[in-house]
Amino acid sequence: MAINWFKYSAPSTFYGLAGKMIPWFAIPSVVLFAVGLYIGFFVAPVDAVQGEAYRIIFIHVPASILSMFLYLVMAGYAALGLIFNTRLSSMMATALAPTGAMFAFISLWTGALWGKPMWGAWWVWDARLTSELILLFLYFGFIALHASIDDPRRADRAAALLAIVGSVNVPIIYFSVKWWNTLHQGSTIKFTGTSMHVAMQEAMFITLLACWFYAVAMALIRVRSIILERERNNLWVSELKEVNS
């Protein structure tokens, strides 16, 4: 390995750091959820067009944004791991995937529950919904490929390549679905252009932050397990106090 120009890129050092960082993400996440949902449910007014149902937005939009954002972050980490052969970034990519897939699922679920009262159907082949579904498939592909390769090094590298190919494809898929959707005007139902109240924007932004903190906390806990699993033959692992207790 090259010189350790970034101390915390060594899994043994990062293990301890991650442990210290988890509460700094988990606690703000809980607080921000409480504040964001309080504003969302008690301060933000009822929407003129959509009534109370619009309040799904405070979880639907953050989940959708994070599911896409996490895919890009995951592909970025995977690419770093592939190019510079840094083990930790590959582990981070693996740790992020399940959380990203979960947000994609929440986005689809809440989208369906929002669509039913607003559009009259659980599912419409809207460009965004369809792309989100495909994104979920891409997450499944990443997780499944990683899980089916026994050698961790090959698993990291193969999944990384898939993630990169997938992230190049995401915009192509999005625009092709959007274009396909405009061709089939029959099923297109557009959002009504209501201007958002300031409190609505605030609440949405705060829950977005809360989701982000949550995702980081989850990834950190998961990456700690992955580090332990991969490094279990090393001396530093057997000297940890959680192992000795």
Binding site: T110, L113, Y214, R222, S225, E229, R232, V237
Partner: protein, 55 residues
């Protein structure tokens, strides 16, 4: 706004609480899974170490 009114969500109770309920469920399941994985991993590491000490 009364409590009943709040939970009724202007008739959209099923949709709104269905969204938040499933989200909460997903979060709880993920947290449990992550903690379970940590427990299992620690157990494995301990087993490995004990096997190593005996050898």
């Amino acid at each position: 706004m009364s409590v009943v009114e709040f939970f009724n969500m202007g008739g959209y109770a099923f949709y709104v609480w269905g969204s938040y309920g499933v989200t909460l469920l997903a979060f709880v399941i993920e947290i449990l899974m992550v903690r379970h994985k940590r427990k299992i991993t620690l157990q494995q590491v301990r087993l490995m170490r004990e096997a190593g000490e005996e050898a």
